[in-house]
């Protein structure tokens, strides 16, 4: 329990969820970006169903981690810090101010890229390749945000019975942690 008597259960659960989602995203990122992604690569996707599925997995995992972080973990963290979560943009600005988010603009850019990783595939191969490559560059933004929140929480709250989930690995090369 925190000084206010709020249970930390939800915060710990969400931290664990984002950590798992982050590991899955890092694994898919490492497996997908072994080849340079350009127009020719996009054109070959039709003949390579496994790579095509991996591409979908990357976009899905990127979106899932960003949503759990931004829509669930961040508001819960603010509640635990005795703040009132507001509109999404207000919460992001607050995170930036707390030093837990590197850049609100980067975060919004990542959000906007997600649509382009889905819709550009059929109509604009160069834009689709560009969206994937830029999203890969922004994976560390999500990972670093998780790690910053993780550190912030550990410094403020008592260790829960089940312990804290681990930090996510940072830097390149990205180690594939999900391959069996």
């Amino acid at each position: 329990m925190t000084p206010t008597g709020q249970s930390l259960d939800r915060l710990v659960f969400l931290l664990e969820t984002v950590e798992k989602e982050g590991r899955h995203l890092l694994g898919t990122t490492a497996r997908l970006f072994v080849e340079p992604i350009d127009v020719a690569w996009v054109q070959r996707l039709e003949q390579r169903p496994e790579i095509s599925e991996r591409t979908d997995a990357f976009a899905t995992r990127f979106a899932r981690m960003q949503d759990t972080l931004g829509d669930k973990l961040v508001p819960e963290l603010l509640r635990q810090l005795l703040e009132t979560p507001g509109a999404a943009l207000d919460n992001l600005n607050r995170m930036e101010k707390l030093g837990l988010l590197r850049s609100v603009t980067d975060w919004l850019e990542a959000r906007n890229l997600r649509n382009r990783m889905v819709h550009e595939y059929m109509r604009d191969e160069a834009a689709f390749a560009g969206a994937l490559n830029r999203a890969a560059e922004l994976v560390p933004l999500l990972v670093d945000t998780y790690n910053a929140i993780h550190t912030h929480i550990q410094a403020r709250f008592a260790v829960p019975a089940q312990g804290w989930p681990p930090e996510l690995p940072t830097g390149t090369p990205i180690h594939d942690t999900t391959r069996p």
């Binding site: 999404a88 943009l89 609100v104 975060w107 919004l108 850019e109 834009a127 560009g130 969206a131 830029r134």
Partner: protein
């Protein structure tokens, strides 16, 4: 056209800052219609210079404008000389208002 003077100015300034002063911006979609209400801000942005990563540039410009204008729904179609022509480009050129 339903954009405030501030919104109009911010859109032009931020587009020029990110893509250079040669970028042309058109407002199209429901915001062109003075009798409609609300709706996304649909922008068609054209450049004479090739943009290295159009998807990233469009996502970044959208993010910058979302921050500057508050959390509006903004949809940007960005076309450079290398972009494959799409029906939406012709529609935006025909119906859009140059900002």
């Amino acid at each position: 056209m339903r954009l405030s003077d501030d919104q109009h100015r911010i859109i032009l300034e931020e587009t020029a800052r990110l893509l250079g002063p040669g970028a042309r911006v058109r407002l199209f979609g429901s915001r062109v219609d003075d009798s409609a209400r609300g709706g996304d801000i649909d922008l068609y942005v054209e450049t004479d210079r090739p943009i290295p990563n159009r998807a990233a540039a469009a996502s970044r410009l959208t993010a910058i404008l979302q921050r500057a204008l508050g959390e509006q729904r903004i949809d940007i179609v960005l076309a450079d000389p290398d972009t494959t022509p799409q029906p939406i480009h012709a529609t935006a050129r025909r119906e859009g208002i140059v900002l």
